[in-house]
């Protein structure tokens, strides 16, 4: 009889490792299976890790985790071809250890550290191993089939934290194939730049960081965003658009990335930086409507595999960690009852939906689709706002009142009713 575990976690990203860590900490026998050479080898994100959800698992983790910079400033740019409306928030509160909000991290380093912490709790981690299928007996998941010789392993419960593509959840019939409009294909580069240069260009003190999100011309008006984040001695720059807009527009993602890097507003910030790595990844953007079945007999789906990403607020790894923690809580409860049925594990689904994860995803449940179906927000309004700002701030002898009238007329040229409808629709999906 092969070895049996209490829990098998598929994937060593934020969701999987959170779950594995908490299960092992509470005395369960946990096997974690990662297909990469090491945790993080297959994992990509823009780079922002929020503090709260990991703090709940490992208090004061930031004292030892390989974080890059705590973020003290978040900027948002509405880009036109040669200009930008800039918004943002900078606060010294976020620079204070007690009040850290988020950090930039480099995933290959961070994920290895986090997985190591889970191993210290007793998790058995196997790298370089693909799970090809869940072993199912009478409708209940009883283990996994790996691509190793004699690769079947048995367990009471399997946690699918296998990422955005989650072939395993699909195999179980928990979701259909993902639609091209439900994912953002994101490409990014790590650019090396000395810390002092970063501090000067981004107006930062040592050990403080800044994030910039870009909308509008950054994606040539297609649904998506570009970003520029500061690490210790490098920058992450990337751009993501829905796969459907890439298919329809025939844009090449790496050409779009070059376009962003050469944008006149962006270019001076990255000048002279040396490309160190190029990465591509899908971000689940389907939101609330795309959440698959989360629980079955002997199985739980967490993190990106469960499509738990808030694209509007670029939150993903925090939701992954929280869902991984909820999965662990549900498994520990199930352990007490000795039953790992869908009915018992359903507490996981309830926790996900009742927490900020479910609530935030519900709040924006129609945002992606609305923006995809109504491209005028990014394609027309952002350029108009840029023209309006330029008109208003240029001193040329025309009175402010006349300028205001001109700007108002520019917005109404689209048709008064249409413009009012657009504003109402935007308010409705964001409220």
């Amino acid at each position: 009889m092969p070895e049996k575990f209490d829990v098998i976690v598929v994937g060593a990203g934020p969701a999987g490792t959170s779950c594995a860590y908490l299960c092992a900490k509470n005395g369960l026998k946990v096997l974690q299976i990662e297909r990469g050479e090491y945790p993080g080898a297959k994992n990509v994100m823009g780079g922002v890790l929020y503090k709260q959800q990991l703090e709940e698992i490992i208090p004061e983790f930031w004292k030892e985790a390989p974080i890059e910079r705590p973020i003290v400033e978040q900027r948002m740019w509405l880009l036109d071809e040669e200009s930008a409306i800039t918004l943002g928030y900078k606060g010294q509160a976020w620079a204070n250890e007690e009040n850290y909000n988020n950090f930039t991290i480099l995933r290959a380093k961070f994920d290895q550290w986090f997985a190591k912490k889970a191993q210290e709790q007793g998790v058995t981690l196997i790298n370089e191993t693909v799970v090809d299928a869940c072993l199912v007996e009478e409708g209940k998941v009883i283990g996994v089939r790996t691509d190793r010789p004699d690769g079947d392993v048995y367990t009471d419960v399997v946690v699918l934290a296998d990422g955005v593509n989650s072939l395993l959840a699909k195999q179980l019939g928990f979701h259909e194939e993902i639609e091209p409009a439900q994912v953002a294909l994101t490409v990014m580069e790590v650019l090396n730049l000395p810390a002092e240069t970063i501090n000067e260009r981004f107006n930062l003190e040592d050990g403080q960081g800044c994030t910039i999100e870009m909308f509008g011309d950054a994606t040539k008006g297609h649904l998506g965003t570009a970003f520029l984040y500061t690490n210790k001695e490098s920058l992450n720059i990337g751009v993501g658009t829905t796969l459907s807009s890439l298919v329809n527009s025939k844009m090449k993602p790496y050409d779009l990335l070059e376009y962003v890097k050469n944008h006149p507003i962006v270019k001076p910030l990255i000048k002279g930086a040396e490309e160190a790595e190029y990465l591509a990844h899908l971000i689940p953007e389907g939101g609330y409507h795309a959440i698959p079945k989360l629980v079955g007999d002997g199985v739980i789906v967490a993190g990106d595999a469960a499509q738990l990403v808030n694209g509007i607020h670029r939150e993903g790894s925090n939701m992954a960690m929280k869902s991984g923690s909820f999965a662990a809580e549900a498994i520990l409860l199930a352990k007490q009852t000795g039953k790992y049925t869908e009915e018992v594990l359903d507490i996981y689904r309830e926790k996900v939906y009742e927490s900020f994860i479910g609530k935030d995803l519900e709040k924006y449940k129609d945002a992606t689709e609305t923006l995809e179906n109504h491209p005028q927000y990014l394609k027309e309004y952002i350029p108009m706002l840029n023209r309006a700002a330029r008109t208003f701030f240029t001193v040329d002898g025309i009175s402010k009142q006349e300028k205001q009238r001109g700007i108002f007329n520019m917005f109404m040229e689209r048709g008064k009713i249409r413009t009012v409808q657009d504003m109402y629709r935007a308010w409705k999906v964001m409220k």
Partner: protein
């Protein structure tokens, strides 16, 4: 060298040189029916949206350069004819991200 010069010539080939790949001997990606690509798919979107430029239309067929695959899954989802069989590379093979 000036940053400007670097950026001006940053092609996909140069980007791919920045990435570490541990290629298996056999492909984890497979075009199921080449005639479908040739006859029914005039746009061949995989040839432009794939971030690793894995798919190239050469002669009368799609060549699959699986060795440079980032394993993002876009081709499986974006192929308008569901004509790509997509698996993960065997354990330990494929892309190895070193940084982010």
């Amino acid at each position: 060298m000036e940053g400007d010069e670097i950026m001006a010539k940053a092609t996909i080939e140069e980007k791919q040189y920045l990435v570490r790949f541990r290629a298996d001997k056999e492909s984890h990606l497979k075009i199921l029916d080449q005639t479908l690509c040739l006859e029914k798919c005039p746009d061949k979107p995989c040839t432009y949206f794939c971030p690793g430029e894995v798919y190239k239309f050469e002669g009368d067929r799609i060549q699959v350069g699986y060795e440079g695959c980032h394993e993002c899954g876009s081709c499986r989802i974006g192929c308008p004819h569901d004509n790509i069989e997509w698996k993960y590379p065997k354990g330990g093979y494929g892309v190895v991200f070193r940084l982010a």
